[in-house]
Assembly symmetry: C2
Homo-oligomer: 206 residues x 2
Amino acid sequence: MSPAPAGRRRGPSKGDLREKAILDTARDLLSRKPLADITIDELAAGAEISRSSFYFYFDSKLAVVVALLHGLSGEVSRDAGPWLDGTGPDAEALRRSLAALATLWRDQGRLLAGALAAAPGCPPIARWRAALREAHVERLAARITRDRAAGHAPDGPAAHVLAAMIDDLRSAAFAAATDPEALVDDLVTVELRMMYGNFRVHHPDE
Amino acid sequence: MSPAPAGRRRGPSKGDLREKAILDTARDLLSRKPLADITIDELAAGAEISRSSFYFYFDSKLAVVVALLHGLSGEVSRDAGPWLDGTGPDAEALRRSLAALATLWRDQGRLLAGALAAAPGCPPIARWRAALREAHVERLAARITRDRAAGHAPDGPAAHVLAAMIDDLRSAAFAAATDPEALVDDLVTVELRMMYGNFRVHHPDE
DNA sequence: GAAAAAGTCGACACCGCGTCGACTCCGCAC
DNA sequence: GTGCGGAGTCGACGCGGTGTCGACTTTTTC
């Protein structure tokens, strides 16, 4: 059943504070333990309401996460524009784009990691992730195609496959990292190699 | 009748069969739905015992998965030897190694994906994954170091960081793929680029 | 053939989720 | 001020899944 945005009715009110308190509590708890270990009781307690009152504000624990995620959508792709819209191996633009992403992962790592882990079993989260990924892959694939046509980049895997791999690599690397920001330079090197790194196979005997 | 078949000291006891039946059922169910949707009831039913009898054999659903995983440990790294122990960009060895991995993912994708998803919240699974990853990263890092020393590969990220990225990329790519085997050739290209793909930044004006 | 070990099961307590209906609180209209 | 309605709150309930316990039956062993 497509969950209608039920729960909260219309009108400005004081309960808005409670809603915010739940969100804040969730953010806070997520910085300390994985999503699966967080119970609705805790979320409710953090907002100083009873467990059943929680349902007045959100349909479920996952709905809270989705709300949190939604607030992040913009930031995830902010600062990626110059790199994605440019051409050729512009290491600096890529570095700036990745540095912004790394900051986000530093601050919201648990939320992001929890969302990624929960995605396979939660359609709304999966949709959020898919939309973001889709958007990134598409722009990056377009860039790859452009670069190949202009002779900046060698042929290789289909552009969207390569773009998807790069997106996967980012998520996996950041999710596994304890210090995302330390990864930026290496990621720059590796991504540029994936896109532009041609090389000749050396047969020792020829 | 005579319980111990003549000649054979100990046949497979009734319990051994049950244990195997549980494992088989788990494998079977996992090929049809994600781990989180599988209940102990189903596992027990598949082995034709009651739910509480299940606990005679395994401590929990995750323990079954761990057992299944254990049986897979060998296969995951089988066929990777020639590539990992070789030197230089030997595309064919890499391709064979990845093809074997792809077959495994095709057959056991749900199990592997479920394990990866459950790992953050389940120490035994996390340990299994970490051990496998560790082993692969270590051998691959050694290969990278060797190749760099011999001048086959350019410098770049620390060998173990690069190796970890390659491992991450594989997991992410296979986990996301609907057809792992179609990914092999692209993965070969991309991994070789990550390791050997040097390139010069083209400044159009120089 | 009796004791021990292996295996089986129903009943139970527990936990977390989501629902329901009754209640309180508060602003507003008259 | 009365009183009405919606926002907000909560206790109690039912559900489904987990894990444990103790009593029971079957198989093995000596």
